[in-house]
C-alpha cells in the first residue's frame, strides 16, 4: 500500500483583478498512516492554503491550478462536490485556530456533534449521541451527558478546543489537519491540547498535519517538518534533525530567532526584512533578498528540493553544500 496522503507539485492560484497570484507553488510531500507532519512558516507562507487545498476548499477567487492530492490511493482534486463532501469531515477532519469562532453560538454542542455524524453516517439520532458521548470522554470532558446540552459560551477556551477536536474525531478520520490549533490558547492549555492530539493520533493510527508557526509545538509533537516560505517548501526532514541542525538559511534564521538560543539579556536574533507579498515574489530563490549566503545564481535560478544527507533531508537552496552551513549552525 502507498502513502496515506501524497501531495504532488500542488499549485494554488488566486485570480484577482490585477492578475493571477500564485499562493502555493509546487508543494510536494507525503504522509503515512499514524505519521505526524509539521508545516511551519511565517504568516502568509501558504501553510493554511495548503491545508485547505488538501480538502479542496479554497474560497472563491482561489483555485487549485495544478498538481495532485492523492488520498488513500485516489486523486481527490478531481472529485465531484458530492464525493468530496463525503471525504471532508468524514475521512479528513480539520481543526481551526480559534475555538471561539468555529462553534456555532446558537446551537448546543450535542446538536453540532450529532449533525456531523448524521451527515455522514446512516444512523439514528440516539446512536449518534452515543458516539458523541464516547468522543467527548475521549477528549476528557467531564460529565459529557450534561455538557451535550450546553451552548458554546458555557465552555472555557481549552474546553471548546477539546470539543472541536471531539467533533473532528467523530467519524474516526484517517487524517486530521490542525491549523494552528493552540494559537488562541494560553501556554498550559496549549501543552494539554497538544498532548491530547498526539495521544489520539498514536492510539488510532491517524495521520496529523500540524500547521503552525510555533517551532516549540512542532518539535514536541511531530516526526517530520516541512518549512514553507513564500508558497514553497524550502526544507523538509525529520523533526529532530531540522531543529538541531537546520540546513536552509531561512530555517536557520527561524531557529536562531528563538529566545532559547540566546543568553539572557542579549538581543534576539531576527531575519532581516519581511516575507515578500504574493504580488512581488523575487526572481530566483524567493528568499535571496534576505539571505546572508546569497550568491550569484540565487537571483536567477529557482532552487529545487534535493537530498542533502542520509536523513531523508531535502533542502531547496543553491548554497547549501558550497557553504559551511553545518559548522556555522553547530556553533550557534
Amino acid at each position: 500500500m502507498g502513502h496515506l496522503l501524497e501531495v504532488n507539485d500542488l499549485e494554488v492560484k488566486f485570480a484577482l483583478r490585477l492578475g493571477e497570484l500564485t499562493a502555493i507553488n509546487g508543494v510536494s510531500f507525503t504522509l503515512d498512516r499514524g505519521q505526524r507532519l509539521g508545516l511551519v512558516g511565517e504568516s502568509g507562507a501558504g501553510k493554511s492554503v495548503t491545508g485547505f487545498a488538501i480538502i479542496n476548499l479554497i474560497s472563491k477567487p482561489g483555485y487549485i491550478s495544478g498538481g495532485q492530492v492523492v488520498f488513500d490511493g485516489r486523486d481527490i482534486t478531481a472529485l465531484s462536490d458530492e464525493a468530496m463532501r463525503n471525504i471532508r469531515g468524514n475521512r479528513i477532519s480539520m481543526i481551526f485556530q480559534d475555538p471561539m469562532m468555529t462553534l456555532n453560538p446558537v446551537l448546543t454542542i450535542g446538536t453540532q456533534m450529532t449533525e456531523t455524524l448524521l451527515a455522514h453516517r446512516n444512523i439514528s439520532r440516539a446512536e449518534a449521541e452515543d458516539i458523541a458521548l464516547e468522543k467527548l470522554r475521549k477528549v476528557q470532558i467531564p460529565s459529557p451527558e450534561k455538557r451535550l446540552k450546553q451552548y458554546p459560551h458555557e465552555f472555557s477556551g481549552g474546553m471548546r478546543q477539546r470539543i472541536v477536536i471531539a467533533i473532528a474525531l467523530l467519524t474516526d478520520p484517517m487524517l486530521i489537519i490542525a491549523d494552528e490549533p493552540t494559537t488562541a490558547l494560553d501556554v498550559t492549555i496549549q501543552a494539554e491540547i497538544m498532548d491530547l492530539l498526539q495521544e489520539l493520533c498514536e492510539d488510532d493510527e491517524m495521520g496529523l498535519i500540524l500547521i503552525t508557526h510555533d517551532l516549540a509545538v512542532v518539535s514536541q509533537v511531530t516526526q517530520r517538518i516541512a518549512v514553507m516560505y513564500a508558497g514553497k517548501i524550502v526544507e523538509t526532514g525529520p523533526t529532530g534533525a531540522i531543529i538541531r541542525s537546520p540546513r536552509h538559511p531561512y530555517t536557520q534564521g527561524l531557529i536562531n530567532a528563538l529566545p532559547g538560543s540566546r543568553q539572557a539579556g542579549g538581543r534576539l536574533n531576527q531575519i532581516p526584512g519581511m516575507m515578500p507579498t504574493l504580488t512581488d515574489i523575487p526572481a530566483g530563490c524567493a528568499f535571496h533578498p534576505r539571505c546572508e549566503l546569497r550568491g550569484t545564481v540565487c537571483d536567477m535560478e529557482v532552487p529545487h528540493l534535493r537530498s542533502v544527507d542520509s536523513h531523508q533531508r531535502m533542502v531547496a537552496c543553491h548554497m547549501v553544500e558550497s557553504s559551511e552551513i553545518d559548522r556555522t549552525t553547530s556553533k550557534a
Binding site: 480538502i55 476548499l57 468530496m84 463532501r85 469531515g89 456555532n104 446551537l107 449533525e115 451527515a119
Partner: protein, 306 residues
C-alpha cells in the same frame, strides 16, 4: 422542557421585560386583544354576520350611556343596525388574521430569498435583489387595486367576498417581502464569513444544511424585531385598503371597513361608528409597536447593559 423553562426564567429577556413597565402593559393589552379576537364568536354579544340579527330599525343608535342609547347595544349600532361592539370584535379578529397571515407570507418569501441571495452571492444575489427593488418601487396600493380589480372581473363580486381574506393576505404579503429579504440578506452576509460556517463546510455539510441550520438561526434576531413592526404595518395596510373599499367587504367588515362605513355619517352626528373602531385600531397597532421597540432594544447587542 423543564430545563428550557428554567433557562427562560434566568434569561436577560425576562429580566429586562420585568423592569420595563411599558412593555408589560403593552403585552397585557396585546394578549387581551388577541384573546378577544380569537374568541370573537364566543364572546361577542351578537353575530354580526347573521342577517337575522340585523334590524334596520336599530340603525345609528348611539352608545348606551347617551340619552338615546339602548342598553342592548353597548357601543351603539352602525348604519345597518349591527351591534357595533360585536362588529368591532369580529373586525379585530379579521385584522389579526390578515396581519399575521401576511407577515407569515412575507417572512417566508423574504427569508428564503434573503438567505439564498446572501449566501450564494454573485449573480443570484444581483437578480434577486433587483427583483426586490422593482417590487418595492410598486406602491402596494397600486398592486392591490390591480389584483382585486382583476379578481372581481374574473370571479365576480360574490366570490370576492368569500375570498377577500386570503386575497388580502397575498396582496399585503407580496408587497412587503423585500423588507425581510434585505434584512436577512444583510445578516447572512455578515454571518457567512465567520469561522463556524467555514467549519461546517469542512465537516462536509451540504449547502442547504449550512444555510438553514447554521446561518439562519444566527440571523433570526433581526427577523424577530422586524416581524413585530411588520405585523403592525400589515394591519395598517389592511385598514387602509379596506378604508379605500379595496379590502374587506361591508358584509364582513374589518376595522378598516368599519371606519370607512362610519366616515360618511360622521358629520351627521354618528361619530361612534368611526370613533370606536379607530381607537381600537390605534390601540392595537400602538401596543405592537411599543413591544417591537422594547424587543429591538433588548436584542441589540450594542445597547446591551448600556
Amino acid at each position: 422542557m423543564k430545563q428550557m423553562w428554567r433557562r427562560f426564567q434566568s434569561s436577560y429577556l425576562l429580566y429586562s421585560f420585568k423592569r420595563d413597565r411599558i412593555a408589560m402593559v403593552s403585552l397585557a393589552v396585546l394578549v387581551v386583544l388577541l384573546l378577544v379576537g380569537i374568541a370573537a364568536p364566543l364572546i361577542s354579544p351578537y353575530d354580526p354576520y347573521d342577517p337575522g340579527n340585523i334590524d334596520i330599525m336599530n340603525s345609528e343608535i348611539p352608545p348606551a350611556w347617551m340619552e338615546e342609547g339602548d342598553g342592548a347595544f353597548l357601543l351603539g349600532t352602525d348604519i345597518q343596525g349591527r351591534d357595533l361592539l360585536s362588529t368591532m370584535i369580529h373586525g379585530l379578529r379579521l385584522s389579526i388574521i390578515i396581519g399575521c397571515g401576511a407577515v407569515v407570507l412575507q417572512a417566508f418569501l423574504g427569508i428564503v430569498i434573503g438567505l439564498l441571495s446572501g449566501y450564494l452571492g454573485g449573480k443570484t444575489d444581483a437578480i434577486l435583489m433587483r427583483i426586490a427593488d422593482i417590487q418595492l418601487s410598486f406602491p402596494y396600493l397600486m398592486v392591490a387595486i390591480f389584483i382585486s380589480a382583476i379578481f372581481q372581473v374574473a370571479f365576480g363580486i360574490g366570490r370576492y367576498e368569500e375570498l377577500a381574506v386570503p386575497l388580502l393576505v397575498v396582496i399585503i404579503g407580496l408587497a412587503e417581502w423585500p423588507v425581510y429579504a434585505r434584512t436577512v440578506r444583510a445578516s447572512v452576509m455578515g454571518e457567512k464569513n465567520k469561522e463556524y460556517v467555514e467549519a461546517a463546510r469542512v465537516i462536509g455539510l451540504s449547502r442547504t444544511i449550512i444555510m438553514v441550520r447554521h446561518i439562519l438561526p444566527n440571523a433570526l434576531t433581526a427577523v424577530m424585531v422586524i416581524s413585530t413592526i411588520q405585523v403592525a404595518n400589515a394591519v395598517m395596510s389592511e385598514a387602509a385598503l379596506s378604508f379605500l373599499g379595496l379590502g374587506m367587504p361591508v358584509t364582513r367588515p374589518s376595522l378598516g371597513s368599519l371606519i370607512r362605513s362610519g366616515f360618511e355619517y360622521i358629520f351627521s352626528g354618528s361619530w361612534w361608528i368611526t370613533m370606536f373602531p379607530g381607537v381600537l385600531l390605534v390601540l392595537f397597532v400602538l401596543v405592537i409597536n411599543l413591544l417591537g421597540d422594547w424587543l429591538r432594544d433588548v436584542l441589540n447587542p450594542k445597547l446591551y447593559k448600556g
